[in-house]
């Protein structure tokens, strides 16, 4: 019997590897899911540009209906990939998308949005990346689903796709 132990160990390992093959070890689940969204206070990037100091917005300004919070930047490749879909999503009116422009120069993002269009309402500016840290962002783009009471329901890492929207996010928004 003891001579069969190595075989059993191998069988168990193979089982774990088979499961592991279908997972991405680099994507991290967010510990914030089910918790209140971290507090922030960020200036609005007005697009097109307006005179005067931009207003500061906080969590309280978004209570009342579910939103997507999309961390993006003009220097990020994945953001270019997801941008057309975000445009369509915004135009369909299914959900409000709040953009957080992460560590980006105002001029760059204005030009970027000018060429591609603006799916965000509104755009907040996280210039030093501290809000990103508070939200546990480790690589843009990342998208959070926040419900009407300000609780984080879901986090999508990487470029948003129609599949992810239909499968993971839309059902969350439909629920009461």
């Amino acid at each position: 019997m003891r001579f069969a132990i190595p075989l059993l160990v191998l069988a168990v390992l193979i089982g774990f590897f088979a499961v592991g093959l279908n997972r991405d070890p680099r994507t991290l689940p967010s510990p914030l899911i089910g918790k209140a969204a971290p507090a922030f206070e960020l200036p609005v990037l007005e697009f097109p540009k307006k005179d005067g100091a931009p207003p500061l917005l906080t969590n309280a300004d978004f209570v009342g209906k579910p939103i997507l919070v999309n961390f993006f930047a003009s220097w990020c490749a994945g953001c270019q990939v997801e941008h057309p879909f975000l445009m369509r999503l915004a135009q369909s009116g299914q959900v409000q998308i709040v953009g957080v422009d992460y560590k980006d120069a105002d001029a760059d993002v204005r030009q970027w949005l000018g060429v591609r269009g603006n799916p965000y309402a509104p755009i907040l500016v996280d210039l030093d990346g501290r809000t990103g840290i508070d939200w546990g962002v480790y690589g843009v783009p990342e998208t959070f689903v926040v419900d009407a009471r300000g609780t984080i329901l879901h986090k999508h890492i990487g470029a948003m796709t129609p599949e992810a929207w239909e499968k993971d996010i839309k059902p969350l928004l439909v629920k009461p």
Partner: protein, 169 residues
Amino acid sequence: MSATRPPNRLFRLFAPRASALLLIALCALSPLRASAQVTTVKPEIPLTAAQEKQLEVLLPDLRCLVCQNESLAESRAPLALDLKYEVRNLVAQGKSDAEIKQYLTARYGDFVLFRPPFDPRTWLLWLGPIGLVIIGLLALLWNVRQSRKPKATTTPTVDPAALRKLLDE
């Protein structure tokens, strides 16, 4: 990258999939694109000698989330630099190691800790090696005792012909 040769049905078996690049040490190579990130100028945070020491011991235990095989001490990824600054800030505020780790795990989960916490999930991880040593030594002693028992029941030489016959069946 994709190979664009049209599929040849006859040799489909030997047709390769997309070939791939070696992603070796991705993070030691920084793509130029990252340099377009804005780095804000932050004030230097002075630390006492004891705090410097605390930081020096703490940083290698924290994992960079961008270059996931570097610690915060090693990494030069922009996020790692930001986090290093935050950690330095917390150290300067007199926070303990546990509080700083709590700050990071609340945001990024246990993944940021290169030294996993000791909890029911990791009992096997931390105690397993000790268990392995004990099992190994017990197995050794058992073997030694077995070797001293007279071997009456076993046949000392195995007849090769018989084994071969056994195998052929």
